[in-house]
């Protein structure tokens, strides 16, 4: 399967990695500031910066809007975008397929079903129950898709992707069914199926965020192994990697991130496809830069797409998943044609 020949890139050094990541971090801050100034009440960028600096020219109303309404949502967008992007990049390395990502593989849908069952049964009272149920759902789907695509010791890529898409379709139907059974509004289902960053529960978020950060950090520490695995399982073994153990550990953590993220945002597709693809084109395929870069760029990306989703038809909000799908689906087709 051919991947676009990227712009010639230099071999990675620590200083280059740090430089790129600092730039991406700066970009994330700028994007977040810009996003904070937009909304039903426009707040000038100078006031946004001023609010952080403790300037006295910022009114209390502005402060309330910025810190109580907009900032939590932007932080959520960063968490979700970062998590989905790094999970996507890891799945792509392990499966050696640039089309793999949590949504296409059906793993996001698995998380949704777990979360909805927990909420529907009202066992979601404790803040950790919904994310846990969501993780169990996503990890189960990961195992299921893997089992479906595994034949005679070989992983069939076409089966993997089609199997994932079909499992996703099946679980989406199940989500609609469960929500009908529990007699909730259909709009609720809509939010779960297309993603939604407006109604995250702060307590759940407080549980989810540290786990996502730690899991992402642990995945980044495996980056050098992913480089070897991305060139072939046997090659990675020949070069000294315990492939089975690395893969188990990584699938588990990537599913964990997916499940946790889904439990606070619903299914937002294609982020894990778009961001690693762009990062690979710009920075090259070395995972030591690709993973942390995807993590930071994914945050910026979802902040921007969420900004688009809530402003483009204001005051009506469109689901952020619709925006990411509008960008991601054509990219998927393009990559499929090239593969």
């Amino acid at each position: 399967m051919a991947q676009s020949p990227s712009v010639p890139h230099l071999p990675l050094t620590l200083s280059r990695t740090i430089g790129v990541l600092l730039l991406l971090f700066l970009l994330l801050i700028i994007v977040a500031m810009i996003a904070m100034s937009f909304g039903s009440v426009a707040i000038p960028l100078s006031h946004v910066v001023g609010a952080f600096a403790g300037s006295e020219s910022v009114t209390d109303t502005e402060r309330t809007i910025l810190f109580d309404i907009r900032l939590p949502r932007i932080l959520l967008a960063i968490l979700v975008g970062s998590g989905l992007s790094i999970a996507g990049a890891v799945f792509q390395a392990l499966l050696r397929n640039p089309l793999a990502e949590p949504y296409i593989l059906g793993i996001s849908s698995g998380g949704t079903i777990g979360a909805i069952i927990a909420i529907g049964l009202s066992v979601g009272a404790a803040a950790f129950v919904t994310p846990l149920a969501s993780f169990i759902g996503s990890a189960s789907v990961m195992l299921l898709v893997y089992a479906i695509a595994h034949r005679r010791g070989q992983l069939d890529t076409q089966t993997l992707l089609l199997g994932g898409v079909m499992i996703g379709a099946f679980f989406n139907a199940a989500v609609l069914f469960i929500i009908a059974v529990f007699n909730q509004e259909l709009r609720n289902a809509f939010l779960w199926l297309m993603g939604n960053l407006s109604t995250a529960n702060p307590e759940t978020l407080a549980v989810v965020t540290p786990f996502c950060l730690v899991a992402s950090g642990l995945l980044i520490l495996q980056s050098r192994r992913y480089n070897l695995i991305a060139t072939g399982d046997e090659v990675a073994m020949q070069l000294g990697v315990d492939v089975t153990r690395t893969k188990r550990f990584s699938y588990l953590l990537a599913s964990l991130i997916t499940g946790l993220v889904v439990s606070v945002s619903g299914v937002i597709g294609f982020v894990g496809l778009i961001i690693p693809h762009i990062c690979r084109m710009v920075f090259g395929p070395d995972h030591r830069l690709l993973l942390p870069a995807s993590f930071l760029a994914g945050g910026s990306f979802l902040v921007l797409t969420d900004l688009l989703a809530r402003t483009i038809l204001a005051p009506t909000e469109i689901p952020v998943g619709a925006v990411t799908a509008a960008i991601g689906a054509p990219l998927f087709v393009y990559l499929l044609r090239k593969s």
């Binding site: 071999p11 020949q238 315990d242």
Partner: protein, 262 residues
């Protein structure tokens, strides 16, 4: 000392279908051994077992007089490098990045290659005649160029034993001879042990100290090229009539194919 020693090993990918049966073979340190035999005779499988990609169902393998099972994956990778037959790399890593991957078993716990790793990579790239491809994506190379990249990666591993699975498969004749000359030089100058699967019996005979012939998962002959490459045995094993005489320069057995008359 034996670099690697195989004692009555058997292995099959599927239950009841043995790919290798009771194979015993010892390779001395600094020896150049070629594995030959018809398609499907188990040559590649034997290489994989030697590198513990697969584990034999019966029998034992010892690496420098220690059971192979006592080594960690990384420890094996510091002793043995493997040049695979084909490699479907899909991500556009550059040639330098691929070659530097050979350094990873030597740099545990560090995230980035150091200048010494870079120097080693540059040396082996020059040796393998791929220095001009340094920053090209490996996905854009020809089969022969890729093959040289993978040999370079294995050499960057600075192994004591080099396993090669048909290293000359995609190479033009100039690079075939180049690669074998480099292997012979490394084997003579640095005592590198080379175990190479080859379909080219002439190259195998010209460069190897010994040849081992596998047929249907069993070793049928091990010995010097003169002992193993005979008209009768080739006829017997490959069901093909050939002419075997002496190479006019080196004196090694030379095989000439005889096209059928009709």
């Amino acid at each position: 000392m034996h670099a690697i020693s195989v004692d009555t090993i058997s292995f099959g990918y599927e239950p009841g279908v043995p790919t290798l049966r009771d194979v015993s073979l010892s390779v001395a340190q600094g020896e150049f051994l070629s594995l030959v035999g018809p398609n499907g005779s188990g040559k590649t499988t034997l290489l994989r077992l030697l590198d513990r990609i697969y584990v034999p169902h019966r029998g034992t393998i010892t690496l420098f007089d220690r059971p192979l099972s006592n080594y960690t994956r990384a420890a094996i990778a510091r002793k043995i490098a493997f040049v695979p037959q084909e490699n479907g790399i899909i991500f556009p890593f550059t040639v330098l990045e691929i070659v530097l991957m050979g350094r990873s078993p030597h740099s545990r716990g560090t995230a980035f290659e150091n200048p010494a790793d870079r120097t080693i990579a540059e040396e082996v790239m020059t040796l393998m005649d791929i220095a001009h491809l340094t920053s090209q994506a490996v996905t854009s190379l020809s089969g022969g160029e890729k093959q040289r990249v993978f040999i370079a990666r294995a050499l960057a591993q600075q192994p004591e034993i080099l396993l090669l699975d048909e290293p000359n498969a995609h190479l033009d004749i100039a690079h075939q001879v180049d690669v074998f000359n480099i292997l012979r030089k490394l084997h003579r100058d640095r005592g590198l042990t080379v175990i190479s699967v080859s379909h080219d019996l002439n190259l195998a005979a010209a460069y190897s100290d010994r040849i081992a012939m596998l047929v249907c998962g069993s070793l049928v002959a091990v010995g010097t090229p003169e002992e193993v490459i005979t008209e009768e045995r080739i006829k017997d094993v490959f069901q093909t009539s050939v002419l075997v005489d002496q190479h006019p320069r080196g004196g090694s057995p030379r095989i000439t194919l005889i096209p059928s008359a009709s």
